[in-house]
Symmetry: C2
Subunit: 182 residues, 2 copies
């Protein structure tokens, strides 16, 4: 395997991961997460994670955008992979920056394009929850809270400007609470 | 340098770039571009590119998001680097997917936070243009057209849902015209 160390390549102005053996530069770029709040009537779709981080906690169907996908295509693929759901995207609900881990999340608002859902390989369980039944103490990530609140705030209304980070974590730098299962 | 070939790593379901010598997997992830339409009154700020691709053509201040930045921080940094402008971001104007090259672009609407602008190292020239004076034939990328049209359509109004790709290039797969300087 390559033996990476941090140094500033010639002509650059930032530290990168450079291989000591062959000089290969592994640029670390922020990753793009695409996902959706999928609802039916008053209920929203959540997936209980079968994988780490945060195995056993509930999340939205979301994951890394792949090459050659549009953001919407990626969100539809993730809903299929994680929740075996065919979704119809309405529009962009929220954009969150999680600077601590170099992520930007694009969260869409969606409904079902076809009936049915089931746990995909990365989910232990998939279910629709009424707002009052959402297992808030068992939500996987802060941004899932944020997205659900944004969904609730816009419920029954046309989508406007997307939500962004809440003021208490404007840069997405607050780590998960200790003992949160990570 | 590593000797990459395309193959499907164990446990994966897509072709990746894998080094023949050491097995290192160079995941290709979509890149996130952050930029802004910066305006003063009726005029918008454009930069004439001093670097390839599309050297000599006009573009918005925009570039790759870096690790540990929020999307807004990245857009402010790019406005400073390329146009020596301190900008105040109002909100998200557009989200474009350029699937052909694995890019998602987040384009903000912004004004000047402080007076003044000048060409940074990657720009030959920076200028404010009235709508009627925009050098349409010398615009660097289709998405710059799209962003300027979205800006014009929303001018004088609060930002609503962000614009996305136009129907004629819904996935961002139409290549640049031949002889366009690439
Ligand atoms: Zn190496
Ligand atoms: Zn190697």
């Amino acid at each position: 395997m390559p033996d990476f160390h941090r140094s500033i390549p010639e002509g650059d102005d930032k530290e990168r991961l450079v291989c000591r053996d062959c000089g290969f530069i592994a640029y670390e770029n922020p990753k793009l997460i695409v996902g959706s709040v999928v609802s039916e009537g008053e209920r929203v779709l959540l997936c209980r994670r079968a994988i780490n981080p945060r195995r056993g906690f509930w999340t939205l169907p979301a994951g890394f955008l792949e090459m050659a996908e549009t953001a919407e295509e990626g969100a539809r693929r993730e809903a299929w992979e994680e929740a075996q759901a065919r979704i119809a995207i309405e529009g962009l609900l929220a954009v969150f920056s999680i600077a601590r881990i170099g992520q930007v999340q694009l969260i869409f608002r969606a409904g079902f394009a076809a009936p049915g859902f089931a746990a995909g390989p990365e989910s232990e369980e998939v279910a629709l929850f009424d707002w009052a039944e959402i297992p808030w103490a068992e939500i996987a990530f802060p941004s899932v809270h944020w997205a659900l609140r944004a969904w609730r705030a816009a419920a029954g209304r046309p989508l406007g400007a997307p939500a962004s980070n809440p003021p208490e974590d404007a840069r997405g730098t607050v780590p998960l609470p200790q003992g949160s299962g990570l």
